[in-house]
Amino acid sequence: MINKVLVANRGEIAIRIFQTLREMGIESVAVFTEADAAALHVRSTDQTEKIENYIDPGEIIRAAQKSGADAIHPGYGFLSESPSLSSACESAGIIFIGPHTKTIQSMGDKLESKRLMQRAGVPVVPTWDGNPPESEFPVLVKAVGGGGGKGMRLVDHPSQLSEAISAASREARNAFGDERVFIEKYLRSPRHIEFQILGDAHGEIIHVFERECSIQRRYQKIIEETPSPALAPQLRARMGEAAVAAARAADYVNAGTVEFVLNPDGHFYFLEMNTRLQVEHAITEMTTGLDLVREQILIAGGLHLSRTQSELQQTGHSIECRIYAEVPEENFRPDTGVVAVYRPPSGPGIRLDSGIQEGSEVGFHYDPMLAKLIVWASSRDAAIERMKRALSDFVVLGVRNNIEFLHRVISSEEYRTGKFDTQFLDRQPDLLNASTNDIPPAARIVASLDRLKTTSGSGQMFTDVWTSGAWRNS
């Protein structure tokens, strides 16, 4: 059995894993870098180990050995999908809370994973090694070792292909140390729908339903929900079966995610498999009652899955919004600074997975995600209303953020209808801009109140004139 787990990650996901470990009575170890010495995840556990960086498997193993951890949870990002950490764990006799090294390897290779799925009878997006026929354009150039939109190019015409391949290769080499790219058919208006799967060491594999991830910016998800408004029960069942077949083809053990694209014609295609816990796993937990981190730890300890496929069912509707330190109104540029005021929402059906607290410094070293706001309600409409309420109660000052933008998206008619695809933002460019720049009198009064406090005593009368911050960049 597992007695002590080192979490090879930071921020909200490290804290979220610590929470389950504590509930299970398992000790936890945090790792942190110089830049993260004052980070919240370091304060959220009893034992800590300082490291140089989060992506050196040797350092992670040494930290685990020094702290006496018998297992490592990689979280997401960093080393979670690198076979180097799982194989180093095997050599060191430490349990890796994730799939086998060979599964990570074959699923990490976007070409090999597709070949494997094709053999298993799972539909895949058409792919070419060389030049596709002209009739197949537009196509996407994608990195073999990649994800997250890096090393990816949309090509409209064959004449632009060689230049796009060179650019994507360069980007892929910088981002992943692997310059290999391939060409994939570009689907014009697909939805991005993924299935959570769980597999144990005894060969049992189940799916834990879908997550709708079509609302994206720069190829990164910003709002996820489950169930997907696009799936009728029959289609859900077919995709779920395909997801289990995909996991079986990969000899999958532990928690993983099978990503599909769904075409408007109802055809779906395997895109890739993520061999780790997803950022958006919480919406699955909210609608099924499962704790996916707990399942991961039980599976890694050699236990059977806690539920069978027929025992699982979804209740209600859950939505997640990713709160980023970024400015949607200025082309989503990331922002940095100190979080001066931080008041997350609370109330029925609200969950917050947060990596920061008031006073936290948001730097440029790591991903600008501050927190994940997750709501649950009995229906999709009720979940939307709850998310709107929660976002409008969420206070973050000191660092620019996307909360108001998320509120505009969630409040839009296009979102409410549920009829959207991955082009959602391209079709609704107005959502990028604030609905109004008018400053209400109360805000001017509050601004001058602060001035009164710092510059004058009570009883003094004066007039202040204020203008919008949009006028002067600061």
Binding site: E330, P440, P441, I445, D464, N473
Partner: protein
């Protein structure tokens, strides 16, 4: 639209708006915020001051305000500053040029991303304070714009 705010004590004052005079009161003020009552209606607020920028959270929105000093209203100048450390990639305007609100002024590269700094309002470029290729710090002055017409008091 600007308005006149008269403080009569530390937590009470009068607002003159469109010819009307409205009383307001601040309740339960602490280090980060409080409640503001205007016309009998109370709203939660939070406030954070960073140099001459004030962020005010009110009713689910964050307003970013910068003070204009008395006498500046008619020949208002806007300073466009670097939003983060980085390098100047391109400069799209030169001194004396008329610009429209949102027109790109300077393209910066920081953290491997390009950011376009745009004109905050219609006006004239009073000066370009940076050069292509230059490395700049956050907050460094890049371009000065003089607003063509000012909002009236």
């Amino acid at each position: 639209m600007t308005d006149e705010i008269h403080w009569e004590s530390a937590n009470h004052g009068m607002l003159r708006l469109d010819g009307r005079t409205i009383g307001f009161t601040i309740h339960d003020r602490d280090a980060t915020g409080g409640w503001i009552e205007i016309d009998g209606k109370s709203q939660r607020f939070y406030v954070h001051r960073k140099r001459d920028l004030v962020e005010v959270w009110l009713g689910g929105r964050t307003y970013r305000l910068v003070q204009i000093r008395k006498g500046q209203e008619s020949h208002d100048s806007g300073e466009v500053r670097a939003l983060m450390p980085g390098r100047i990639r391109r400069i799209e305007v030169s001194a004396g040029e008329r610009v429209a609100a949102r027109q790109p002024l300077v393209i910066m590269e920081s953290m491997k991303m390009e950011t376009t700094l745009a004109a905050p309002a219609d006006g004239t470029v009073a000066g370009v304070k940076c050069q292509v290729g230059q490395t700049v710090e956050m907050g460094e002055l890049l371009v000065v714009i003089v607003r063509s017409t000012s909002e009236q008091l």
